[in-house]
Assembly symmetry: C2
Homo-oligomer: 477 residues x 2
Amino acid sequence: MGSLDPIFYPTSIAIAGASPGKSGQWFLDSIRTSGFKGPIYAINSKGGEVSGLLAYTNVKDIPGPVDYTICCIPAPHVPQLVRDCAAKGVKTISIYTSGFSETGTQEGRDLEREIVRIAQASRIRIVGPNCLGVYSPKVGLSFASDFSRRVGKVALIGQSGGNTSYLIRAASQRGVRFSKAVSYGNACDINESHLLEYLAHDPETEIVAAYIEGIKDGERFHRVLSRLSAVKPVLVLKGGYTRAGGEIAASHTGSLAGSAEVWDSLIQQSGAISVGNLEEMVDLLVTFALLPLPRGRKVGVFGGGGGASVLATDELTMAGFTLPRLPPELIKELMELFGNTAGMIFKNPIDLSMVGYSQSFYDVVKRLLSYSSGDSFDLGLIHAGFGQAAWFSSSAFEIEINQFRDFVTRIHRETDKPLALVLQFLITNWDWQKALDLQRGCSEAGMPVFHSMASAAKAIDRFLRYHEARQRAGKTG
Amino acid sequence: MGSLDPIFYPTSIAIAGASPGKSGQWFLDSIRTSGFKGPIYAINSKGGEVSGLLAYTNVKDIPGPVDYTICCIPAPHVPQLVRDCAAKGVKTISIYTSGFSETGTQEGRDLEREIVRIAQASRIRIVGPNCLGVYSPKVGLSFASDFSRRVGKVALIGQSGGNTSYLIRAASQRGVRFSKAVSYGNACDINESHLLEYLAHDPETEIVAAYIEGIKDGERFHRVLSRLSAVKPVLVLKGGYTRAGGEIAASHTGSLAGSAEVWDSLIQQSGAISVGNLEEMVDLLVTFALLPLPRGRKVGVFGGGGGASVLATDELTMAGFTLPRLPPELIKELMELFGNTAGMIFKNPIDLSMVGYSQSFYDVVKRLLSYSSGDSFDLGLIHAGFGQAAWFSSSAFEIEINQFRDFVTRIHRETDKPLALVLQFLITNWDWQKALDLQRGCSEAGMPVFHSMASAAKAIDRFLRYHEARQRAGKTG
């Protein structure tokens, strides 16, 4: 079994079944938009033109070498394509086509077995079938034209194209960048264990996320997951966790789901991190990828409003954080600087709703993040709700959020304390696009952004618990 | 103690402290924008003009009658205003001003006691102090110019102006309309028990939501909450649930928070519904206000993608729902109608990702919602993720979501089955505004919309558990 490098770093790509308006064109356009540097070839048994490329009628007719083929032709024709690819010297075939073992029919299973047999005989590796394939921003390989071209440190493997796409988009939108991602479908050849084993040794990957519906070899998976978890955090979401969900998974990717109890104990023993749903996965990716590790659980909370401060305290306390009070001499200093502004409670949370996102906001947060004593903060959390009553107009809102973004990103740049943001903004009727711009501005500056205090508290707690458990076990990092 | 009608249905309003650019102007403008029909007067000790109104220097100088005053003047001047209002015959003063018992100072407590004394002597009722006051869309009274002018069946009382505003905005955006809402701050006169007692008898209110930081009289509160819960669902979020949160609540609204254990048993005994945070409150309001009561827990799930179907099944199963399989004769009928389209799994969830939001989508969902047998669905759940790989352009996205909205609102209009929507759309980088438009379109058509399968499953489960418990207890509705 060779390295999986060829599936992530192809140098030339052919798309079989590249017809205008069909999935083949979508793959073709995605790769072109993503900046793939090598040659891209269209294959269509009927010839013709797609996205300005003349299609070859067979992969073997392509003049130059081809090391990667994306297959979008109907299932019955796939075995012949694999044979032709073998003759051409293709190393990897990513099969989008469905209609294999996931159908639950003998015919589908036989067809899948046949392509595996041909591929193994000719040392071709198969991704899929019934999958979207590989996203590898380093070489410009992608299965969607809107995925980021920037390379990051998170690797994602997912047995569902839709869920894998969701995770890439939702995490990217909040500043997470990927080293690589694979939607691997039925996993007839390359499966979750191969991928996780590869990622354990991948120098470009620091964090691994997985959406898994079924495992091919439980013992091997356990071994691989344990080894990987020993060196990198691994976040695992199980699709088909319940028996009813497992039945749906069977017809989705032909997976055998297993019982929830067995799964829980496997994850627990391996040291991986169990994730409950897609939204939680995104929150954890944001945290693990963007938040520096806080030394402890003392949090300073800055931001908006008395009621928000009360609820933030509840959420954070229940998640195991403490909110130390400010020392009297520091309160005195702040009072002298800013006066006893009504609503500006110099406790913790520090309610800054009355000062707005002004220079004073910046000064107070900066001062509090930099004060050091036995009780100083291990991390800072800024929370803000937009669309408040005081904003009468769209333009006032814009000025306010621009100010907020500028001050907050400045604080983030200038502090060495871990800092996270909670932006509750799904409340105005006309400003979602500006809210997205604000989130993007903060995320691109490298700040972890959450959409609620509850999700922030939960994710940061999980992050700390992961590291606390490792420290207890004597592992570093 | 008279009725609280005057605080919700004033016929003439004066704003004390109506200076340009300050909070007084914001209240003034909010009321004008909200369509208040009676006279509105500005009061400013320095005279002058605000929003085109000439300000009176004292409430007593106003020629016509004034039954409602909003107070935005500094705390030390409030007692004199209350005296002047008494002389003028004002019935209600809503006090925005802070600097009373919430400061924790003797001076603040004394000042608050003084205004209560004056008010009681002259039979004036006080809302607040330290609050935003009343939103009563029926008469056009509001504390924010963007609140809906439409009247609904949900009443909200909240001890925090920010949290109350958040709940009004977030719930309104998802189709919930209010009969009335009060931000009641320190509750020096009118407190949570008065308000809940009033709402029990309010014919315009069918559902009650409360954000409470502290209670004034535990025994009375228990009695009132139990009586109210016997006739209407009451959703209660406790701010200051933890000890640390309670300390912050004390400096926010001067509340004595009490212990979490006492609170839990009080809510449990009274039959009210305990809510964990603001986001959950909005999900529950959407459910209670918009979802017809399903007869049971058999759910039909329609929509997007194999992986999404797997996770939907897990979430719904874990929340206590069942997803019955379609009877063979129905599968046969659908196969004949639509063919064995790949990806269109006629199990349940019914994966419609391959048919798109076309006439076939409409036909399948309609057929499945209307089939009746022992195993037919008690409710339908349509889930959709937007911003998928297949959409290359903003215009294609727009066509797709418009089609979706049209078909889905048609299905909703034509079925008598309870129907809910899960829209996972925070994933595209350029379409939040269109996503908001889509949500608004569906919400305004009266559909309950959720942002994740987990939150939908949790909220609908709570809704059913509430009604199941009432049925067991022999109560109707």
